[in-house]
């Protein structure tokens, strides 16, 4: 038998030209073919989990975010353990296997808080803790005056299983300067992920596009992810999602309502509307084609709605992400697609795929 030739890797120049010029149907078809060859069994996975945001207080105050509050804001909070535990219990009852534990960067919480938080959960529950995106890891490390590697080691030891890919936004510092000037730079985001992978922790990677970036920045982002994955192999999935302008400082459609307290950033960059469906699918399809070393691409129903997420399954995606028993961050921009586990199962089926519940490591737990 003849050996099938491995398709050639997209270089950044070709990727940029596809992103800018390719016909959306051609791009979609190529991504669909690649998805089919990587996942020929026609299974689309999802995870049952809950987003738990332990605090909304955040010193970073990113201009694209509608979730953060300053410490003195009337609706600033730190979740008490009783509420936390009941949220986890509820997640387990609903067949959940993971919590996504994320928060703002709260200036009063120290390493000890996080260790106790993780230990107290692990003592009581058999659940995967997917928690603390790189900006949080860096903040925890810096506050405790230890290295990223040390912080990860300590948190991993206390019960942190895997790390979500949030806070990547666009891994191009020119864009980060506008979107999130106080947030860690690209190199540190990548450093956290590399260190986590070296410790044997799996992570995902995200990209938030459709704000102020140029096509070149998207390709820079994809290249950084692919390079790191070549070295570590620690990314399980890539999740592109589009900026939602509602209630954010940088979005012009709905202005912030002023409940957020002191420290609102005054920089005037504006984005008037969210990326359209065609732009979302274009980026999604390119991600599938370019990230040939990342097995899974997630469709984002939470930002795109169920119908477009179904279409995304034919534009390169093979995973539906999480059922999100609870989600607060995207909802704070005024975008809320309410979706149940049944909706997700039926949605995958009616798109012509076999739905399967997975765990954090993409092992299949149950098919429907």
């Amino acid at each position: 038998m003849m050996k099938t030739k491995k398709p050639e890797r997209l270089d950044t120049r070709k990727a940029l030209s596809l992103l800018k010029k390719a016909d959306i149907l051609d791009l979609g078809q190529s991504a669909d073919e690649m998805r089919r060859s990587l996942h020929p069994e026609g299974i689309v996975t999802f995870i049952v989990d809950r987003n738990i945001n332990y605090t909304n207080v955040c010193v970073n105050q990113c201009t694209f975010c509608a979730f953060w509050r300053s410490k003195d804001a009337p609706d600033a909070y730190i979740l008490d353990t009783k509420t936390l535990f009941s949220k986890i219990e509820e997640t387990l009852t609903l067949g959940g296997t993971q919590i996504l534990l994320q928060g703002g960067l709260h200036p009063d919480l120290d390493l000890d808080y996080y260790i106790k938080l993780l230990q107290s959960i692990k003592q009581r529950f058999d659940i995967n803790i997917h928690g603390f995106s790189p900006p949080e890891i860096c903040y925890i490390a810096d506050s405790a005056d230890i290295t990223i590697r040390e912080a990860l080691g300590i948190l991993h030891g206390a019960g942190l299983d895997s790390i979500p890919g949030g806070g990547a936004e666009i891994l191009a510092d020119r864009v980060r300067e506008i979107l999130s000037p106080k947030k860690i730079k690209s190199s540190r985001w990548l450093e956290v992920m590399e260190a986590a992978h070296r410790l044997g922790m799996k992570t995902t990677a995200t990209m938030m596009f459709g704000s102020v970036e140029a096509p070149e920045d998207i390709v820079t982002h994809l290249a950084a992810i692919r390079d790191l994955q070549d070295r570590t192999g620690g990314f399980t999935a890539f999740i592109p999602w589009s900026f939602q302008p509602g209630n954010t400082e940088i979005g012009t459609k709905t202005k912030g309502q002023g409940t957020r307290g002191k420290g609102q950033n005054k920089k005037r960059a504006t984005v008037s509307s969210a990326a359209t469906a065609v732009e979302y699918l274009r980026v999604l399809a390119l991600s599938r084609l370019y990230l040939d070393n990342i097995p899974n691409i997630q469709a984002s129903w939470v930002t795109q709605g169920l119908k477009l997420a179904q279409v995304a399954l034919r534009f390169g995606a093979n995973d539906f992400g999480s059922t999100m028993i609870e989600e607060n961050v995207v909802a704070s921009t005024g975008v809320s697609y309410r979706v149940t586990k049944e909706d997700i199962i039926n949605g995958i089926k009616s798109a012509g795929f076999k739905p399967a519940q997975r765990d954090t490591a993409y092992n299949i737990l149950r098919t429907f």
């Binding site: 016909d23 959306i24 149907l25 979609g28 078809q29 669909d32 509307s273 359209t276 469906a277 065609v278 732009e279 979302y280 699918l281 795109q304 709605g305 169920l306 119908k307 477009l308 997420a309 179904q310 279409v311 399954l313 034919r314 909706d343 039926n346 949605g347 009616s350 798109a351 012509g352």
Partner: protein
């Protein structure tokens, strides 16, 4: 393999019901999309249309009780409403919260559909149309589905043709395509047993076309029908269009499950795109296929512009019928929002009038 169908379409051949079934059963989304896209471009070039319009629903009182409808009410029931003619005039001319006056005055078309009111006389409808025309002489009045026209003919005692001519004299400019649902009698009986038959719907449209009134046509899909029922529906429309040429646009409507008497879920985004594409391919004698954003959502509607559609409807301003059944969109979009969607889909945004004459091209 769609090669044979592809060749047939590209050489101008007509699809048979068997061809259409193959397309519905095919998984080859991209070939289907590309083919429909090619046909759409042959008909309309790079243009995709929208209109500045406003919806008015004079009443939700309705003597019919269609099982898929979440809009209709009985007299005295919670949420029942009846607009006076004065209220209708105010809606068309008054200020709307959050909108500038110019926006409203700029609309070129009003779309009027409502329930079959148990008491209003025919004269009320005539007065409604005549008064709108008097106040807004330049505004195009697109009003009354075939189901309403049939009802108006019953309450007026006039035949269909005379009913239509009377309304036309008052100012009726064209008719929407609603009430078609699915023509196949067994499905129709399960959906809306009290509504006029598919044959009668087609008869009303044929007479409207003879009376010089252009209309649209719709199909409600994604409930209990099968592909064969959709194909039967398309074939009947194609046949009538061969005879009259009076249809302007075909509008496939995705079923919405909330608050209705029927079970079932939302259609899949992929089914929506395929249905648009197949409609474009089967209805070779229709100039326009509309991806109605209120029902498909703005995301799928935008994408549909690359799967055979060339129109995404309009600014709408206030939508009640789809939203009663769990509509997934907001109720209005500005002309610039619509132009942006079209542009980002790689099409040229054209604001049209009610007969698809170009009013403004958005660069």
């Amino acid at each position: 393999m769609l090669k044979r169908i592809e060749t047939k379409v590209l050489s101008g051949g007509r699809l048979t019901p068997g061809d259409a079934l193959k397309l519905f059963e095919s998984d080859d989304l991209f070939t289907l999309g590309r083919l429909a896209d090619t046909v759409a471009r042959r008909k309309n070039g790079k243009k995709a249309y929208f209109i500045r319009n406003r919806h008015i629903n004079p009443t939700n009182l309705c003597v019919n009780r269609c099982k898929f409808c979440a809009f209709s009410r009985s007299k005295g029931q919670d949420g029942a409403f009846e607009l006076t003619i004065r209220e209708i005039i105010e809606k068309l001319g008054g200020r709307q919260k959050g909108r500038s006056k110019t926006d409203l005055h700029d609309i070129s078309e009003v779309h009027i559909v409502g329930g079959l009111h148990p008491d209003w006389p025919f004269e009320y409808y005539q007065e409604m149309i005549a008064t709108i025309r008097k106040h807004f002489p330049k505004l195009h009045i697109k009003a009354f589905t075939a189901v309403e026209i049939d009802y108006l003919s019953k309450i007026s005692g006039l035949d269909l043709y005379s009913t239509l001519m009377a309304l036309k004299a008052d100012g009726l400019g064209s008719m929407p395509g609603g009430g078609a649902e699915i023509f196949a009698p067994d499905i129709r009986n399960r959906l809306c047993p009290e509504k006029i038959s598919g044959d009668r719907w087609l008869e009303v449209m044929e007479i409207a076309h003879k009376a010089g009134i252009r209309t649209n046509a719709t199909m409600l899909y994604g409930h209990v029908e099968g592909y064969r029922d959709r194909i039967d529906h398309l074939m009947k429309l194609r046949k009538l269009q061969d005879k009259t040429g009076g249809f302007q646009a075909f509008i496939p409507l995705a079923y919405h499950p909330r608050n209705t008497e029927m079970l079932g879920g939302y259609t899949s985004g992929l089914d929506d795109l395929k249905t648009i594409a197949i409609s474009r391919l089967v209805l070779d004698n229709f100039d326009h296929i509309k991806a109605y954003w209120i029902m498909l959502g703005e995301k799928i509607s935008q994408l549909a512009l690359r799967f055979g559609a060339d129109d995404i409807d309009g600014t709408i301003i206030e939508e009640k019928i789809t939203h009663s059944a769990g509509g997934l969109t907001g109720g209005q979009m500005t002309a610039e929002d619509l132009a942006n969607l079209i542009r980002k889909a790689g099409r040229l945004p054209v604001e049209r009038d009610s007969f698809y004459k170009s009013l403004k091209v958005y660069a």
